[in-house]
């Protein structure tokens, strides 16, 4: 079970929230038990994690630091004496951690200054057991390792396939506190035993540290999930079904970093408020590979290519799942109701409604009558949104009751420009709005001229659509990726971010 907006939010879940800005309170994300067959779109999403991004990912996989962990080990058994070293359970802070991706593997160097491991020494003579603590230290140590990408239980995993190499200075031993270990056998080389134990611990711990699932760390969960629209009103409740699938050889390491391509599937259980149409067949147009040169000069950690058809299908799912039925979650006029806007801002006098005894606050309710269509326009660097049969209800307080005073139906053509600088999502600024075939239905409005209605509708749509279009980044929310650049390409939207 995945809690809504938990730290394990998955890539596909974000798609459901695409295009319409929803808060965590408005959607519930959880594992799906649905066995409904889904149609996958090949390579609908692509990732590139840069070498510096890989370093950060490793850091995030071990946020507490470099954990040195080794079990107790017998280092001597003769003359009725048993000597054991360990265990060790200690966190170290490397002075430097460097990853160098190569073809098929990530080479790492982990360096430590003034390293001291605290090792228990246990000496047993019959029933007599004495335990001392020793400090095993060196002025510097460096562990070189290489981790290859292999298939693990939870997707591609880095695994160390060759024993890491430890380069170190001389080690020294000291007692920690008072120690009465007794006389040790003459043949037992205490220093050698403890240093060997410490060096082995460093090597084994390096292996442990490097064996991570980078996509998991990134927030990618390869599973089927559902995103339910939370709403006070049943007509708004729909469900998006989403699944991400990593194809064979879908992830690889190259000198440019870690790349992955994900097949994606989206389906929907229609909400009552949605237009009564079926989800169109899925298109098959992949996101293009990410050329690392696109990241040059950005100091980027990660890049995502979101296929244009994934965006478009996300938009369809958004509309059909009720996620686009907006503006009416709380009918009351509480001060904290964020759906309310000042009536003055609506300029209702243009429709001849200024003489109504309206309250100070109004709302704009958005209801889609068809599915939106998105077109990538790389030459302009924006997306074209075509949305027919959009319904906008204007509610204002009349005699203390939120009352629908006008309804507009129109077809909308808007340009959406992706913008950078947002944490965790790509925001789309609505740059232009054109309205076609506007119809105004109101028993209270003085019939205004068509041109006035068009102008008024355009402006009201800008209010209704402001900040409506967001695309959460396909990573876990706590990754705090800042979008530093976006690029509309012919096949996809490229999003470049920094951890």
């Amino acid at each position: 079970m995945i809690d809504r907006c938990s730290s394990t939010i998955l890539i596909a879940s974000c798609i459901a929230l695409a295009l319409v800005s929803l808060s965590c309170d408005e959607a519930q994300i959880r594992s799906s038990t649905s066995t409904q067959p889904l149609v996958f779109q090949e390579s609908g999403l692509r990732f590139l994690v840069t070498p510096s991004g890989l370093e950060t990912l490793y850091g995030r996989a071990r946020p507490e630091g470099f954990i040195v962990s080794a079990e107790r080990r017998e280092v001597w058994r003769e003359e009725g004496i048993v000597i054991e070293a360990g265990p060790i359970e200690q966190v170290l802070t490397p002075s430097e951690f460097v990853t160098t991706p190569t073809d098929g593997a990530v080479e790492t160097t982990t360096e430590f200054d003034s390293l001291e491991l605290l090792v228990a020494l246990r000496v047993r003579r019959g029933a007599d057991v004495r335990i001392c603590r020793k400090g095993v230290s060196t002025d510097s140590a460096s562990v070189n390792a290489a981790a290859e990408l292999v298939e693990g239980d939870s997707g591609p995993t880095f695994a160390v396939t060759r024993t890491p190499v430890l380069a170190d200075d001389d080690w020294a031993i000291r007692d920690i506190g008072a120690c009465s270990q007794g006389e040790l056998p003459i043949a037992f080389d205490l220093e050698s035993a403890l240093v060997t134990y410490a060096r082995d611990a460093m090597v084994l711990s390096t292996v442990e540290a490097l064996e991570t699932s980078p996509l998991d760390t990134l927030g990618v969960v390869l599973d089927r999930i559902e995103v339910r629209r939370i709403s006070a009103f049943e007509p708004n409740r729909g469900t998006a079904l989403l699944e991400g699938r990593l194809p064979e050889d879908g992830a690889e390491v190259t000198p440019m970093g870690l790349t992955a391509r994900l097949d994606t599937a989206l389906d929907v259980e229609r909400a009552g408020c949605a237009p009564p149409v079926d989800l169109p067949p899925s298109q098959f147009l992949s996101a293009a590979p990410i050329d690392p040169s696109a990241l040059s000069g950005t100091d980027a950690d990660v890049a995502f290519a979101i296929g244009g058809n994934v965006l478009n299908r996300s938009a369809h799912v958004t509309a059909l799942g009720g996620f686009a039925c907006r503006g009416f979650e709380d009918v009351s006029a509480d001060d904290g109701n964020g759906e309310l806007i000042p009536t003055d801002e609506l300029l209702l006098e243009e429709l001849g409604l200024e003489d109504l005894p309206l309250g100070e606050r109004s709302r704009v309710v958005f209801r889609p009558g068809s599915l939106p269509e998105l077109t990538l326009r790389p030459e302009r660097g924006d997306l074209l949104l075509d949305w027919d049969e959009v319904t906008i209800d204007i509610y204002s307080e009349l005699f203390g009751v939120p009352t629908r005073i006008a309804t507009l139906e129109t077809s909308v053509q808007a340009t959406l420009r992706p913008r950078a600088g947002e944490p965790g999502f790509v925001g789309f600024a609505v740059e232009t709005i054109d309205v076609l075939e506007v119809s105004l239905d109101s028993d209270l409005a003085v019939e205004p001229e068509a041109q006035v209605v068009e102008s008024w509708t355009r402006r009201t749509l800008l209010i209704a659509l402001e900040d409506l279009f967001n695309f959460p980044l396909p990573v876990r929310p706590d990754s705090q990726i800042e979008v530093v650049r976006t690029e509309v390409r012919s096949d996809d939207l490229l999003v470049i971010g920094r951890f």
């Binding site: 939370i230 709403s231 009103f233 007509p235 979650e329 009351s332 109701n337 009751v401 629908r404």
Partner: protein
């Protein structure tokens, strides 16, 4: 204000305030007539003054209706002239509309009406935030009404708001439950015979935790709008009962008279809200309408503000309330999409002779007057539009009588030829069962 309306109003005002017969000192009117009466010089008897007629389209603001003396009697306000207008008629008998008086300069455009077997009364807010009460015998002539002002006894002050409701007891005494400007719910009453003086005031609910032990954490946290929104007062021989909203907590409350005074309790504190609506509990209790069935069980129809729906609360025991959803407000629009409608405002409940309830209310999305009727085989509610011609349904109210059927009123807003906003009274009749 048209000149016709202005002249009619002045005539009415003069008639209402005149008393005694200075030109006929030796006749039966030698002594001053009681307050609210004038001397009829023809018969030399004290009579209620004759009200001027309202000749235009009747206005609909604040519309209310009751049945008295076999006639439907309406009360409403013209928002332009601020005249208080009452009409009486039947389905086949044209309504006779009269001007009762005028609202105070800053008074809210609200009016209340109630009738018992003996008396009918209409209340509005006049100058200085004081109630004006118009009354006549239930079977009396509709063109003749007495009008008085509720003047508090010395040492008592009050300030009426838009939240008030009048009740008339069988003897003809009048009670008004009202939310004072001090944000408390109070009662002012006068036994028969009515007059300017002699009104007594009592506190029903000041919103404090001691008011029946009910609590409102929001109020304790500092929000102070108080209690007493949209009260509905019902007077029965055994007691008086009023339902109203606790504004701070968005709860529906009920208060009844007992031998120890008023007993206050909460009927509904609202369902939990989903996180998408901000969490907490729903705001309920607006536009409450109280009625008792033939067995004496109370039923309260009211609006759930947060969910925009119509609810009905009923109790067998007087304390454990069962709340049911009468109308969720979900309809299918022309595009075959389910649409959430805002319903339940201006709820008004009545019972027929089979003790089946019917509730009229506003659908604020389709701006229509709707009615929900409990089916006779107890299979839930039948809901339909009662009036959907233009923007109607504001200030919906209805009354039922087995003989004359159901009469529903509401305000219709429309535009005249010049585009000016017009308030009209819509009267819809339905046969009795």
């Amino acid at each position: 204000m048209t000149s016709t309306r202005l002249i009619a109003f002045i005539v009415a005002a003069l008639g209402a305030v005149s008393a005694g017969c200075p030109d006929n000192p030796g006749g039966p009117c030698a002594t001053e007539c009681e307050e609210g009466f004038v001397c009829d010089e023809t018969t030399a008897t004290c009579v209620r003054p004759t009200l001027p007629t309202w000749d235009d389209e009747p206005p609909g603001r604040g519309s209310r209706v009751t049945i008295a003396g076999g006639l439907a009697v309406t009360a409403s306000i013209d928002p332009v002239s601020r005249s208080v207008v009452t009409g009486a008629g039947l389905r086949d008998v044209p309504f006779d509309f009269r001007i009762l008086g005028r609202l105070g300069r800053t008074a809210p455009a609200r009016v209340s009406i109630d009738a018992s077997a003996s008396r009918i009364a209409i209340v509005w807010v006049g100058e200085g935030g004081r109630f004006r009460v118009a009354w006549r015998e239930s079977t009396g002539r509709h063109e003749r009404w007495s009008v008085t002002t509720v003047v508090p006894p010395e040492g008592v002050t009050y300030a009426a708001t838009e939240h008030f409701d009048v009740g008339v007891d069988d003897a003809g005494g009048v009670q008004i439950a009202y939310r004072d400007r001090d944000r408390t719910l109070r009662l002012v009453q006068h036994p028969e015979p009515l007059g300017t003086s002699g009104w007594t005031f009592a506190l029903i609910d000041d919103g404090s935790p001691t008011a029946g032990g009910t609590t409102c954490p929001e109020r304790e946290a500092g929000s102070r709008q108080g209690v007493g929104f949209e009260p509905d007062l019902v007077i029965r021989p055994e007691n008086a009962t009023v339902t109203y909203q606790d504004v701070d907590c968005g709860d529906l409350r009920i208060a009844s008279t007992t031998s120890d005074g008023w007993r206050v309790s909460a009927i509904d504190v609202g369902d939990p809200l989903p996180s998408s609506s901000g969490g907490g509990t729903a705001r309920v209790g607006r536009f409450s309408s109280l009625s008792f069935d033939t067995t004496g069980r109370p039923h309260v129809a009211y609006n759930d503000e947060s969910f925009g729906r119509l609810l009905l609360a009923t109790t067998e025991t007087g304390s454990d309330w069962n709340v049911e959803i009468v109308d969720r407000g979900v309809t299918l629009d022309v595009g075959s999409r389910e649409r959430k409608d805002v319903v339940g405002a201006f709820a008004a409940i009545s019972f027929d002779e089979r003790s089946l309830p019917s509730i009229t209310y506003l659908d604020a999305t389709s701006t229509s007057l709707r009615i929900a009727l409990r089916s006779s085989n107890d299979e839930g509610w039948v809901r339909r539009a009662l009036d959907s011609e233009g923007a109607v349904g504001f200030f919906a109210d209805h009354a039922y009588d087995a003989t004359i059927g159901r009469v529903a009123v509401s305000e219709k807003l429309s535009r005249d030829d010049e585009g000016a906003l017009v308030s009209q009274l819509r009267i819809i009749w339905e046969e009795g069962t």
